[in-house]
Symmetry: C2
Subunit: 179 residues, 2 copies
Amino acid sequence: MSKSNGTKAKTGRRPAKAAAAPVRADGGPGGSQVSLGRLGDFVGFRLRRVQNHLSRHFATATAAEGLRSGLFSSLALIEANPGISQIALSREVGQDKSVAVAIVDDLEKLGWAERRRSTTDRRRHALYVTAAGQAKLDALFAVVDETESAVLHQLSPGEKQLLSELLDRMYAAIAGGES
Amino acid sequence: MSKSNGTKAKTGRRPAKAAAAPVRADGGPGGSQVSLGRLGDFVGFRLRRVQNHLSRHFATATAAEGLRSGLFSSLALIEANPGISQIALSREVGQDKSVAVAIVDDLEKLGWAERRRSTTDRRRHALYVTAAGQAKLDALFAVVDETESAVLHQLSPGEKQLLSELLDRMYAAIAGGES
DNA sequence: ATCATTAGTGGAAAAAGTCAACTATCCTTG
DNA sequence: CAAGGATAGTTGACTTTTTCCACTAATGAT
């Protein structure tokens, strides 16, 4: 996934030809000096930047497992809500129900979760996390924790708390404002 | 694998999150009552929820235009950095350069941006926003503004400011911690 | 029993992301 | 100034994700 360049980090310096534009094309990730313009006025953009990095970091750290996106959060939600139905799960993750089915297929194949026919409603498959799934969840949560810590280390505990609270308030506006 | 559970996992099982708001997932007003469990302990999850809604809302609002993803931010970056090269643009958006080419193709087809051969370096295509592109950007930024306002309305001006600052600090940790 | 509704499933189609060539141009160095 | 390496742009093939839609099975209401 890295650059297909065999030679790297060479950063060939060219003699800075007094460019009229304030744009320097060179520079690695984060080192670019590109203006954000109006984009920088929106929190959504900042949100996206940070979240993008977090999810990418998590994906990289768990790439060896070959987990499909959404699998981790689905497993975590099953753990938090034993016996949840696949449709409720899909609603929660915000994906199509067919995606939830595929994820649960993977989860069963991995032995981390299992379907059990509901006794009261035989249409439903009640979902449960297995012991192996519990163990894996611990490991995955550890990765998330580590990923976040690297970024949240800049914030004081009070600031972390405040950040969570603000985000919750924003989300509450979303969840409550729909019909 | 690695079922060595003799050591106590200190990363798991902390039931208390002490958040100001009860950690409940969405499901709409009075809808499903799904617990988030450990997921609720992480700001990354809250970040994702909110950001997910924002981008989805923006996509819905601009669906009529049939804009490919990344087109808007690319156009905004061209506006903010007149004469930027396609490669610098791709680096900024975090995508492959071939994607940037495709986006600029669309942009030219729509008449919102144009390529001009750089006079100093004839390999490069300097990118500029057209008058029509400016107008479209205004409209698109208005959509973003409206999308955000609906969510940020819950926050006081001071809180918005603080939120941006916290996110910036987090992003600075990301950008500075590499290379 | 009939009909509308919901849970679950599979598969096709569209979109998005990834990779590898290949050309043209530039820069460096001998 | 010629040679070799590096950079900008472009194209096309390919893989992975998302999204949508049809279809079955079970439930509930009339």
